[in-house]
Amino acid sequence: MRDNGSTTVLILGVLGFLSIITLSTYLFLEYSIKEIYRNEAIEQRKNALINEAEKVMDLFLNDVTPYADSRIDAVWEHAKNSEDRGIQIRLTDISSYYGVNWIRKEMLNHGNLLKFGKSSDELQQYRWDTGIHLNMEPDYLDFFPPVILNRYFTTYNFFNINICDEFALENLYFVRTGDRDKARLFRQKIQDFWKGSKPGKPRMIEPADLKSFLGLEYARLYPLMNAEPVFNVHFMPEEILSQLFTYEYHSVPHNVLEFLVGGRMNQEWSIGELEVIIGDNYKKTFLHHYIGVTTWFWQIEITSSNDEHGSLTLRWIVVRVPQDSEREDEIEYRLLEEEFLQ
């Protein structure tokens, strides 16, 4: 009898042990499989968001007015309609702001944009010493209040040779060519060119003149350094538009500002129409280098919500490639940044 009892206990013990091992293995495997499925689900959602972003890019590429970007373009209608499908699309023009890496001293002073106690000379020296920055914060927080920095500035725009600080252009030249001496000579060349300007009648390098001005380094500098208008009048902050119109030599009447700000939500202007609206000073001054109708850098954010996994956002930053006269009909965008936010 005692033998039979021991056998039962032994078998029960073995079964219990096996059960514990099986259960723990099952729980572990269940966790592993869940983790694998979760990752697969996230990958699928990421791919779906990328497909949505590609649709947005298709609409940019097939814009019926490719040289003017405004809120009446088809892509905005598409973004609005996507909400019905549970997808949020947010488009932001991130280049129609002053370039914190290149804004000229006179514009800084005119807009009264610097922190109290900081001078535009100090900012110029800081930029010269530390080079071109990708992060506005914390790199420029010593010079600008955070609110001003985020409202008026960006690091995402091209360097228009006519409106950039000459030391910033020297820095860019050095970054692109690796030759500090040539970069210094280039800066002096620009300063010499500007010496021929008269008050209210600046000498300017137009797109057609750019290739000859940049010379042998054109291929390394263009299109980062170009002569295209930096801001899109349809999206730029009203305050910047106002500062540019009230600048000493620009002097554009206030009613023009009101007309543009009032009409841009539901109207699109071509560059020719903008010239007519602003008047003679548009072409005679730097205004036509600051203000245009094209957006160069877009931020596209696409968010999908899911009950089980929460929301997932894809953030793309794309850049439109400026065309030189030889390839005028080609519209091309490039993806600069991709990030998923959960």
Partner: protein, 185 residues
């Protein structure tokens, strides 16, 4: 007619002996069952070990992939840059522009069966935020390129311990890339 019960020849029956045989048979059966169970447990244990090994390796790979993508994704090349400035020597890859800063480097290294990723500031040798992954019998670290031959991130080709399974390739992309790179002479 009465039948006389025939007496059995030899020694009288022994009930106790039968009990012994019975017990021995039972013990033999229990032993056999025990051996079979033991064998089964051993096999099960090996199988479970394999399953757990592969599952945990898969989960570790997924977690490692996430971690590596997070690290590499924080390499943000400004769009104006013309030189990626990546240095690869002594089994170490040094990538600038971690979080968009030219003086902050992401270090990727394979050392003593471990894949090591960390951050280095300026010219110092000290690494911060260091993470270790492995063990791997070998890891190949290469620059990942797109179809146009432009560098877009880092490829990791990892061979598991004792090369029990196929190598795993993970391509981790930089958070942002230069607009275009024009080779300097």
């Amino acid at each position: 007619m009465s039948v006389r019960k025939r007496e059995r020849c030899g020694s009288p029956p022994n009930n106790g002996g039968f009990a012994y045989i019975e017990m021995m048979v039972a013990l033999t059966i229990v032993s056999l069952v025990g051996v079979i169970i033991w064998q089964g447990m051993a096999n099960t244990n090996t199988l479970l070990h394999k399953i757990v090994f592969h599952s945990s390796a898969t989960v570790r790979l997924i977690q490692m992939e996430k971690s590596m993508r997070r690290f590499i994704g924080k390499v943000r090349y400004p769009f104006w840059v013309n030189d990626l400035g990546i240095e690869a020597r002594d089994g170490e890859m040094k990538i600038p522009f971690y979080e968009g800063r030219s003086d902050t480097f992401l270090i990727v290294r394979y050392d003593e069966e471990q894949l090591i990723i960390g951050i280095r500031q300026g010219d110092t040798d000290e690494m911060n935020q260091t993470e270790y992954f492995g063990p791997f019998s070998n890891v190949k670290i290469e620059l990942a390129e797109n179809e146009d031959g432009e560098v877009i991130g880092v490829d990791f080709l990892m061979y598991t311990e004792n090369r029990l399974s196929e190598p795993v390739k993970i391509t981790a992309r930089f958070g942002s890339n230069p607009f275009w790179v024009e080779k300097t002479s």
